[in-house]
């Protein structure tokens, strides 16, 4: 069943068209990365789906419920982590979580267990009795996760979940998101591509308020799989660009110092014959690698297409 469906959603703020007819759907389970450059309409979409904003036109459903007309019912099934989550700073972390549980009418005993589990899992158990006002940005982000998950939501919206974290925190939180995938559908909006590559199974790429790509990670890689080989040669070698371009299965060569980036027209042929062809030019092969394009290459390619 579709967890989210969005049909021709538009949103205008005065003269500014934040969303120009955006449509996509998200299946239950797994993790979807919602990508796009700044101003692509990611946050606006999330705000509509969570009931904070209303669309100018179009339809959206969350877990089969109308995201606009039935927003009160929708809210008990979702979790939401804002880009910079804010809390009542005079409360302690634990107090805020228990209070959040109260809003969901979760029984006190269950709430205590659940909040302990989340606080420990997110590494802020030791800070639970401290006022949120004294938390660092990273700790607030972790508490933001905890409050979004206190009700065991069927769907959780994460708006730039790891951008405020240091590398260690980022690593921990990404692991945490990976564990979540089994229990809930994760809809994560970000522009950090490597994070999406790590945890998401599907990607939706938006640009200028429209969806430009909607696909699974594997399909996306294959579609845009213009395979690339990188080789490094020895310092005494002459420039072999011309020799490489003469090969029938090579479509392009870029030279940066001793590094050559070679794109292939015929991957299968290149794989078998390229190493030998290089040796025949008389160059000394220092390193050789074949790589699939990463999401960043694809992203730049897709978003750059004007």
């Amino acid at each position: 069943m579709a967890m989210i469906t969005v049909e021709n959603l538009t949103k205008r703020y005065g003269d500014f068209q934040a969303l120009k007819s955006i449509s996509f759907s998200v299946e239950e389970g797994g993790c979807v990365g919602f990508l796009g450059p700044n101003g692509a309409g990611k946050t606006t979409t999330i705000r509509i789906l969570t009931g904070l904003a209303k669309p100018t036109s179009g339809r959206a459903t969350v877990d089969g419920l109308d995201a606009i007309a039935q927003r009160d019912q929708v809210r008990s099934r979702i979790g939401y982590l804002a880009q910079t989550p804010a809390f009542y700073n005079y409360m302690t972390g634990e107090e805020f979580l228990l209070w959040t549980a109260d809003i969901f009418s979760i029984e006190r005993k269950t709430a205590r267990l659940r909040s302990e589990e989340l606080l420990r899992g997110l590494g802020i158990w030791d800070a639970r009795r401290r006022r949120i006002g004294g938390y660092s940005g990273g700790m607030k982000q972790r508490l933001g996760f905890a409050q979004a998950l206190i009700n065991k939501p069927k769907l959780v919206f994460l708006d730039e979940p790891v951008s405020a974290l240091d590398p260690v925190g980022r690593h921990e939180i990404l692991n945490f998101i990976e564990q979540l995938k089994g229990q809930t559908t994760v809809f994560m909006c970000t522009h950090v591509l490597s994070d999406v590559e790590r945890v998401c199974d599907r990607v939706i790429i938006a640009r200028g308020g429209q969806v430009v790509v909607e696909s699974s990670m594997t399909d996306l890689r294959q579609q845009h799989a213009a395979p690339v080989f990188t080789i490094e040669v020895d310092a005494q070698d002459r420039n072999i660009t011309a020799d490489l371009l003469a090969l029938p299965y090579v479509s392009g060569v870029r030279k940066e110092g001793l590094l050559y980036t070679i794109s292939a027209r015929d991957v299968a042929a290149a794989r078998i014959r390229l190493p030998e062809a290089i040796l025949q030019t008389g160059a000394t092969l220092v390193s050789y690698g074949a790589q699939a394009p990463n999401l960043e290459d694809i992203f730049l390619q897709v978003v750059g297409e004007a």
Partner: protein
């Protein structure tokens, strides 16, 4: 129930932000100032002015009822400002900080969110008025003369709807206005305008407006009761209109 959870949070906030302490304290201090200054007035005049030696100042001490009426007069100035200042951020500041988005994506209806604040601040003004007015009446009794407690109670009950109107108007503008400063400014201007403009809008409106209600509260204290029902209904309806208006504004808003 989540309205109860919201209300509990609002009450907790009144305590931890010391609003529950300093608002009643303002009401008490500025109220008690009235009997104290009335009592000390001759002495103050004597020390403050450069009157020639031997000048006799005779200021009759006003009756207790009039002193208490002065307390209500004092409340419509600084304490009113303090009230507006404490409430103007109730919604606007939560929206600006982003905590409103955290809360309103949970199963708290905007109605519940608004109602919890309205109830909590209504309690705050009730407590403040009770503490302040009772304290003032007590000191009037000590310093000036015996106070008719029954009149004080009736006058307090008549003044309370006026303070509820302040709560309603400020919350309404806090929901409606983009920033808390704008909300505070509009609330103060609105209360000022409501204080005298309706007087000139015909006899019917003049009998309903907030100024008429404070006038009847004053009249009760002086022992000269006047029309009560009309201004009472008028002010309560106006307060209700502001509450509903604020809630509607919030309901339509994008957080």
């Amino acid at each position: 129930m989540n309205l109860w959870a919201m209300l509990r949070k609002e009450l907790r906030e009144l305590v931890s932000s010391y609003k529950l302490l300093f608002v009643p304290l303002t009401f008490a201090l500025l109220g008690i100032m009235q009997p104290v200054t009335m009592k000390m007035l001759p002495q103050i005049m004597k020390t403050a002015s450069n009157l020639p030696k031997g000048a006799v100042i005779q200021i009759p001490t006003p009756p207790p009822g009039e002193v208490m009426a002065g307390v209500l007069g004092a409340y419509s100035q600084i304490p009113l400002m303090v009230l507006v200042l404490t409430m103007m951020g109730a919604i606007a500041a939560e929206r600006a900080s982003g905590v409103a988005a955290t809360v309103l994506t949970k199963p708290v209806g905007r109605a519940g969110y608004f109602a919890a604040k309205a109830i909590a601040y209504s309690l705050l003004v009730t407590v403040s008025l009770l503490v302040g007015f009772a304290g003032s009446a007590y000191y009037t009794g000590v310093l000036i003369g015996p106070v008719d407690w029954q009149n004080v109670a009736v006058a307090g009950l008549l003044y309370l709807p006026y303070l509820l109107l302040v709560v309603a108007a400020t919350l309404c503008f806090s929901a409606f206005m983009p920033s808390q400063v704008a909300a505070g400014g509009t609330s103060i201007v609105t209360m000022m305008l409501l204080g005298f403009v309706p007087k000139y809008l015909g006899d019917f409106i003049a009998s309903l407006y907030p100024g008429a209600l404070t006038a009847s509260a004053t009249a009760v204290l002086i022992g000269n009761p006047s029309e009560i029902a009309k201004p009472l209904v008028g002010v309560l309806v106006l307060a209700l209109a502001f509450f509903i208006g604020g809630w509607m504004a919030l309901e339509r808003q994008e957080i």
